[in-house]
Subunit: 275 residues, 2 copies
């Protein structure tokens, strides 16, 4: 069991409101495995943020434009902290990791890569991801790695709001009109094949016992919460087959290529430029 191989952890204390800038300035040096773990969590948040920000000009209400925009920016904040920390292992910045890795070096789950779909699809994805992330960051708040613990403690407060947002919408759509119910259920059925991947353990999480969270350990609480929200929303738990997984190993869906092309093109056009 390792606490993450710090050169210096003096500026990081659990419970501190931690920004990417704090992490970059703290002179940390994550070990390789911790960096890999931080990268996969950061990639999840980064790609979902890009997917969500698509809605900012397109939501069905101005108020919702703002809500989804704020959630996207929260996720981007989580991604920045996690990737900044991951970068300390190899002398890279958050921008190096976000803009100059190729597709097969990204380790996000497939759920966050899916095309936006309609609003029901987006709320279904938000519901699944936020409930998972809430359990994840709650558990990670007790990590033996104080930087991961501090990042998680900050993130979980924001994710609590994301859960609430998705939960309210699921009820409003599920228990709304016949059409809104149909679309919300269809959204759930579309994202459900990508749920199991969130809870897959692998060699990395096994090696990082006490530092990383075992994904499988989060499943019971997730299942309880999902059952409750679906019951309150008059929605059915989907019974659909699970899709092939592989995001953690760099095996991705075609859509990730388009997300990355959009996200990386400007930075790659002027690498190292003063903007």
């Amino acid at each position: 069991m390792t606490a993450g191989g710090f050169d210096s952890a003096t500026r990081i204390s659990v419970g501190q409101a931690l920004t990417a800038e704090d992490i970059a300035a703290a002179g940390l040096h994550a070990d390789e495995d911790v960096a890999r773990y931080a990268t996969r969590l950061g990639d999840d948040a980064l790609i979902l943020s890009q997917r969500l920000s698509w809605w900012i000009s397109r939501a069905p209400e101005l108020e919702e434009d703002i809500a989804l925009g704020n959630i996207a920016l929260d996720l981007l904040g989580h991604a920045r902290s996690l990737l900044t920390y991951a970068g300390t292992a190899g002398g890279k910045t958050e921008d190096d990791l976000a803009y100059f890795r190729d597709e097969d070096d990204f380790t996000c789950v497939h759920l966050v890569q899916l095309d936006p779909g309609d609003f029901g699809h987006t709320i279904a994805r938000q519901l699944v991801y936020s409930l998972y992330a809430y359990e994840l960051y709650t558990a990670l708040s007790h990590s033996d790695d104080p930087t991961l613990a501090a990042i998680a403690q900050k993130a979980v407060k924001e994710v609590e709001y994301h859960v609430d947002h998705a939960w309210q919408w699921a009820m409003r759509l599920g228990d709304g009109t016949e059409e809104s119910h149909r679309r919300m259920q269809a959204g759930l059925d579309q994202v459900w094949p990508f749920v199991d991947e969130l809870f897959e353990d692998d060699d990395l999480t096994d090696r990082l016992k006490g530092v990383a969270v075992q994904p499988s350990s989060l499943r019971p609480a997730f299942d309880d919460a999902i059952r409750r929200v679906l019951a309150e929303s008059t929605l059915e738990l989907p019974s659909v087959p699970q899709a092939r997984t592989g995001g953690r190993r760099g095996e991705h869906r075609e859509s990730l290529g388009f997300v990355l092309a959009e996200m990386q093109s400007l930075a790659r056009m002027h690498p190292g430029a003063s903007w």
Copy 2:
């Protein structure tokens, strides 16, 4: 001179941090001219917000993704307050005005409609718009209409940060590399033909003396500030001809049609739906 034709202004006091929800709940009834004035300011903020949010997945740094995203959400907040107030004249909501008006009922200036261009173009537009908006909301804080004054007092604090953001970037790009200087100057040259329109008086602002701000009265302070930032950034004041104006009369550039199509399509697909 009118104070806006209130039914009740009891919940609106100058200096109060005013949300769109507060305005909607206050039982206000703006008169027609005040509503027209609030609409044009709201349209400027709304369309620029949509234009800026395009950058959220595309900025050259993750930190900048967040900064531009936050500015876009601030602008959307201003739009919501202004359009909510405008809607009280005819029993309409902010969403009615944002999603169910046709192109020639929008009264935004051409500056906010321009295609995003490159990052230099965006910073140039932000610089011009934010300096204008800062002077506008500062003056409007003293409006005889207490709702407009309260909206402006809240907005000006946020716009002060927008000015600072654009100013810092103008210096960083203008006084950076040869390439960043070239692009920043090119961006300024491209947005400059749309500056005069911001400061055009018309019948409406003449009729609303004491309530509205005379746009021409803001020009000297704007010119001073622009000269200062350009000097600090080693950039030239563009000497390019001004473009045809008409945004305030509903005469728009082709690009507005595309912005509106994107923004309005979902709401129009399910008018009055529970989402």
